[in-house]
Symmetry: C2
Subunit: 314 residues, 2 copies
């Protein structure tokens, strides 16, 4: 299942609005088919894996990170039907599909067809791998990553606004890779005015992965940008990267709409510079604790990246 979850990550973010599922078909201890949800959501992971397996799918075990869909759509057959038709003997499934059109019906169909179903295998890991889709499905809002690039003393710029080259080349390249993994990027009016950021992905081979550009503003947005009036008003987006500045970051934190923090830190001290955040509505220090968990920490050249995730009870 861990291998199927790793496969599922390849579908992000192009599978949106469909979930990025991963599927492995195993027969006699050998992988005979692998698939993940393709761009735009089709083919589904199961269809891709079954096509790769061909006749070998007969009597095989399918490892799937999300319950196979139960409903036929104009864009293709239901994956539960495809698995039954291919004659798989066993299905191992990580997480149940919260989509009302499936939500248990996929599993029921497989079982009714005599397929042995093992369920709830690594569900936390599978959900984390499709966090953007999961968050939108369950909470009706995008999964939001907030990126902050600061000095050791937490400044994002000098007092006069100078902020070029706080972090080094490797940290910036990592930031571009994060951009490529998001559907949309948001900045505030101040950042647009000060930096006129292109927000494109400047990595070889990933130029076409540049995400939608959103501007947090009560007014209108320039050409090529989509205006968003508030953190709650982000529309048709599964995964959003908030890139700055302090106003936009604070607005998303105050609305408790941040799921993941990317903290890039350069080994410099600025002193009396611009803070990363403004007021985020914290009324008591004790209320600040227990909300964030460090999930990754690494060096990027002379900089350091710490990744924190919001602790939520799902």
């Amino acid at each position: 299942m861990a291998a199927a979850i790793a496969l599922s990550r390849r579908g992000r973010p192009e599978s949106a609005p469909n979930p990025n599922v991963g599927c492995l078909i195993v027969k006699d201890g050998k992988v005979v088919g692998r698939g993940w949800t393709q761009a735009g959501g089709r083919p589904h992971a199961e269809a891709a894996a079954l096509a790769a397996a061909g006749d070998a799918a007969g009597g095989a075990t399918a490892y799937i990170t999300l319950e196979p869909c139960a409903h036929t759509s104009p864009r293709g057959a239901a994956c539960s039907d495809l698995l039954i038709a291919a004659g798989v003997a066993r299905a191992v499934i990580a997480a149940q599909d919260p989509d009302m059109r499936t939500d248990g019906k996929g599993i029921a169909k497989l079982q009714a067809a005599g397929i042995d179903v093992l369920f709830n295998v690594l569900p936390t890991e599978a959900r984390a791998a499709m966090a953007p889709w999961w968050t939108r499905q369950r909470e009706g809002r995008p999964f939001v990553t907030l990126k902050l690039a600061t000095s050791l003393d937490g400044c994002i710029a000098r007092a006069d606004g100078a902020s070029r080259w706080i972090t080094g080349e490797r940290a910036r390249a990592h930031g571009h890779l994060e951009r490529a993994q998001h559907q949309a990027i948001l900045v505030g009016r101040g950042t647009l005015a000060a930096d006129a950021p292109k927000l494109d992905v400047r990595l070889p081979g990933l130029g076409d992965r540049s995400p939608k550009k959103l501007l947090l503003t009560r007014g209108s947005a320039p050409k090529g940008w989509v205006a968003v009036a508030s953190p709650e008003a982000v529309g048709d987006v599964d995964s959003l990267l908030v890139e700055g500045g302090a106003g936009a970051a604070s607005a998303f934190l105050a609305a408790d709409r941040v799921d993941r923090l990317l903290l890039y830190r350069a080994p410099i001290l600025i002193g009396g510079g611009r803070s990363a955040l403004g007021d985020i509505g914290l009324t008591d220090l004790s209320a600040a604790h227990g909300r964030w968990r460090l999930t990754d920490s690494r060096r990027l050249g002379s900089d350091r990246l710490d990744v924190y995730e919001r602790i939520r009870i799902i």
Copy 2:
């Protein structure tokens, strides 16, 4: 030599104003004597190790982290004379003593007595282990560690000044251990007024290690405190821990008197709180780079400690 350097660290900070030296006597592949500079500077490491070795020192090799002293003082014989008298066959020395009374004379004495001297073995590591003494000897000022305990967004308190319990129990215990390893602690007037900090060492068995208390002020200091008018005016101290607040920290950074940064970070966001630093005289962002190197990074409970050292060309 690495073992001798590890021994030398035991002498900090009580050996002051003497250097915290370590010495190992090895004969036929066996350690026959170990010593480090004792409280108040006497006995010296070599004297302690030779006393432990006794007759076994004859024909042995002595590993010493600093060149043995060449001059007799009212408090004891010169270590170079002691080594000669004990009949050691070989001396392996990490770093030359910059003190004018020795500075090469110790080595010359050993060689004149027919002892085989190997020199300049791990000098950087040995100097780092006696950084406080070394800094005062070479630069006439204390080795300064600046401690900052902040939120992820670099705040040391809420806007209203509330700062209790930013970091957790393990980080605070580590801070007390750092106190025990310094000769003096300094805070600014604001911190004294706001927190009335005791600055003592609250660790079992280390209660008597509480350091001298310095107050950064142009005025006078209350009873039990020593007033210090500026970072340049710190007197008879080898190792100084600057504990806050933002004013004191900024003053030491602006004077380029900080050699080591202890950054304790709690997994909380405050937003619009009090910054760790005020103006430190930075005129250009590019000048901020290349000054600090990460030398340690660890978790302390749910907090994180990063240690940075000032890059200086000695």
